[in-house]
Subunit: 190 residues, 2 copies
């Protein structure tokens, strides 16, 4: 997606450890009109799928999932990290290791919100090692729902996550795929 790639080149900052900071527009401060355009683009890509729910994991996926859910006219749903006092009852859960923080946490979704009749589009801001997507796919599997695919804003094409998920036969649509960012120079896949 041209607007997203342009914005990454303009405002993204490459840090050591394969970190790309996009916190001025994507995952700390949020450019709402860019979010809306991303949501519309995921709708364009997946509009032939009978999507019933848009699923993500907190926190930075939430706004993108809401924008996408709006385009489809369906509810958004976000997996929560860890268990707090006000999710009780039965949950689907998966263990996820965060690329960014290095911490392993549990993500959970209430069983009330995913059923065998759901067709789920999974959304996230980044795809790197694929651990968050694997966790979300595990939760959808547990529920018996089907998967429409995964919509990702920024895929780090030089890490293994994209191949890992696509090799499972899951459709992954990434709006910007970065093939390298050596010496701070971002190169997109064509």
């Amino acid at each position: 997606m041209q607007r997203l790639e342009d914005r990454i080149l303009k405002d993204g900052v490459v840090k050591g450890g394969n970190i790309l900071k996009v916190d001025s527009f994507l995952n700390h401060q949020i450019d709402v009109s860019l979010y809306d355009e991303i949501g519309e683009e995921f709708h364009r890509l997946f509009k032939d799928e009978p999507v019933t729910k848009v699923l993500t994991v907190e926190s930075s996926g939430i706004g993108l999932a809401v924008a996408t859910a709006r385009a489809f006219g369906v509810p958004a749903l976000f997996a929560k990290k860890n268990r707090t006092r006000n999710i009780d009852g039965e949950v689907y859960s998966a263990a996820v290791e965060s690329f960014t923080s290095g911490i392993t946490y549990t993500i959970i979704v209430s069983k009330r919100f995913l059923t065998t009749s759901d067709h789920v589009l999974i959304i996230d801001d980044f795809l790197a090692k694929g651990q968050a997507l694997l966790g979300l796919l595990g939760i959808v599997n547990q529920s018996g729902a089907s998967v429409a695919g995964c919509g990702i804003a920024i895929e780090k094409g030089f890490q293994e996550g994209g191949k890992l998920i696509r090799d499972k036969g899951i459709r992954v649509e990434s709006l910007a795929i970065i093939d390298s960012m050596e010496d701070g120079i971002i190169k997109f896949r064509r």
Copy 2:
């Protein structure tokens, strides 16, 4: 806001410990059109303020802040809990105790995204003891920005947070104020 109150009565579940579960539409599964209406209502209430940014704290405030920021045509910004590898540099920070989890955590906002020229509308899904709002107000104070006010979806009027914040001279607009939920019966303030 009538639609929000109606939805709370229809789908909210009162639990022990003054917990109101609204996870089927507000903070786990999300009714996107309700979010949009909430965002428009906050805009209606605060439209005379020259708001430059809409601030919240992850996670359940994010979608509401994005909906509100869209109505104002300004960026949304969410404070992050704890420090992860990809927020570096200088940050504003505050300690917050969560009513829901009982855990005290640090919330941070990059200094790049709040300056003395900002006029900030703070948004959150719940106001109970007011600790999250106090933390966000502290961050805005540190930045030298001014505060337009606080927009809250659901205020627990029987807890002290609303009075605490209003007594500081901060305008707080809550779309549904619950005065009691004894025996599972929700009573709204008129």
